[in-house]
């Protein structure tokens, strides 16, 4: 028992000494050097921001039956080559009615880690016409990464490293830009009274 206690005390003493700083010492003859170090620590938590928001604008619709789109990231020669061609299947292949070439919306995400981005449309003062949106990364307009309407869509925003920047307000340099294309389907002329309508797209960013 005594031997065990002695051994325990020795072990405790060794561990305690291990936590105490010891000096580094030695000769400096013949251009010798000595050095010691202090470790420096920090931690960064997950952080993100959404900026550079631009509204989706369908413009003023003619009112005739068909699918109207608001896009601009992709400018093809034929409506089928543009957003209409990718969304018409959701609208029973209804005919193309019109497009606002500069009607695309956008938002930018900057983060220091991979995050999930969720998008959802809320029809505040909207019509009864079917509506659909798609998100695509800048430079890849035909590759939709999320589809949504009143049912939420989501995609993963991967951390994109940006070098130290002198212009912290230039989000183009520090964030990733995502475009939003939109489409609505006027199914019959009297479906919606002439006038102005608006809705809201909510963007939610989370760690998972």
């Amino acid at each position: 028992m005594k031997k065990f206690l002695s051994m325990s005390l020795v072990v405790v003493l060794v561990l305690a000494l291990g936590a105490v700083a010891f000096a580094v010492e030695g000769t400096l003859a013949e251009e010798g050097t000595l050095s010691d170090e202090i470790e420096v620590h920090a931690k960064i938590g997950p952080y993100a921001q959404v900026m550079g928001r631009r509204a989706v604008n369908f413009g003023t619709l003619l009112g005739k039956v068909g699918v109207y789109t608001a896009n601009g990231f992709d400018n093809g020669d034929d409506p089928d080559d543009e957003f209409y061609g990718r969304v018409k299947g959701d609208f029973g292949d209804a005919l193309f009615a019109g497009n606002n070439d500069s009607g695309w919306g956008s938002f930018a995400v900057e983060s220091n880690t991979d995050v999930m981005v969720r998008v959802k449309f809320t029809p505040n003062n909207w019509g009864t016409f079917p509506t659909k949106f798609a998100v695509a990364m800048k430079g890849q307009p035909t590759d939709a990464i999320a589809w949504f309407d009143t049912v939420e869509g989501e995609f993963e925003h991967k951390y994109a490293s940006h070098a130290l920047t002198d212009n912290k307000d230039d989000f183009v340099k520090t964030a990733v830009l995502y475009g939003i294309d939109g489409a609505i389907w006027l199914q019959y002329i009297s479906q919606q009274e002439a006038g102005s309508y608006d809705g809201k797209i909510t963007i939610t960013v989370s760690k998972d």
Binding site: E37, A42, G45, Y47, T174
Partner: protein, 261 residues
């Protein structure tokens, strides 16, 4: 045979007399004899360097004796206790990840014991992500001489700060990379008692902040000119840049003190 013996005795006498000639001659019973034997010794340049951290433990009022108009009276006095069994470390704590969030802290520092004049060189490695070396937090360090080193431990009750963490003279800023950003409203200090800020003679943190051009990679100090024990304190500045300039995660850096003859 007799001649041989006599010759041998004469030879022995001659040799003996020659041996005595090597010392001061004279009758040691009548005069003082002194002789010098040289003794030679050299001590090579030698030093020790120790990283040290002191953390404030607590203060309490204890009974003791005070002098009052020549009378010794019992009274309670305040005693401060510092813990010197702490692992040397500079810890900035946690950043939220917000752009241009800045922090200022201290490490306490180094104690150098030497038997000769020394040249010291301070250098530092910026906070670097433990998994992604391209992700760094802007970091700059600031070296000071201190008031000295406490000869008595624990610190005597009338001293609020041990000498080795009382900054005295600025040595300079050192580090690698860009200088940390400072933005009003996004600054905090950790691990540094407010009293030290007053000792440094500043009111606002921005007065402390290093500027581009003031920071060197290797900071020399040649103020040690003789043997003794010297203490140095190192403070640290760190900030994020843009949100995506540095990843979420753990970061480690280093402060290095090198001594040479």
């Amino acid at each position: 045979m007799k001649r041989l013996t006599l010759l041998t005795l004469i030879l022995v006498l001659v040799f003996a007399m020659n041996a005595f000639a090597a010392v001061e001659q004279g009758n040691p019973m009548d005069i003082d004899l002194t002789a010098d034997v040289e003794v030679e010794l050299g001590i090579g340049p030698y030093a020790s360097v120790m990283a040290q951290r002191l953390e404030y433990d607590h203060a309490e009022r204890v009974w003791g004796w005070i002098n009052f108009l020549g009378w010794k009276l019992p009274a309670k006095r305040l005693e401060h206790y510092w813990d010197d069994k702490v692992e040397p470390r500079m810890d900035f704590g946690e950043f939220s990840g917000q752009a241009e969030q800045s922090k200022f802290t201290d490490s306490n520092g180094f104690v150098v014991e030497t038997n000769t004049a020394l040249t010291l060189t301070f250098s530092g490695v910026p906070l670097t992500h433990t998994l992604h070396e391209d992700s760094k937090i802007l970091t700059t360090y600031w070296a000071f001489t201190t008031a000295g080193q406490e000869p008595v431990w624990p610190v005597e009750n009338w001293k609020l700060f041990p000498e080795q963490i009382t900054p005295k003279d600025k040595i300079g800023f050192f580090g690698e990379g860009s200088v940390p950003r400072y933005t009003d409203g996004r600054f905090s200090h950790t691990g540094v008692l407010d009293g030290i800020l007053h000792v440094l003679g500043v009111i606002k943190a921005k007065d402390l902040w290093p500027k581009e051009g003031e920071v060197v990679q290797n900071l020399p100090y040649t103020g040690i000119t003789t043997n003794g024990i010297y203490a140095f304190q190192v403070f640290g500045f760190a900030s994020t840049d843009a949100i995506s300039s540095q990843r979420e995660g753990d970061y480690v850096g280093k402060i290095i003190l090198t001594v040479s003859k």
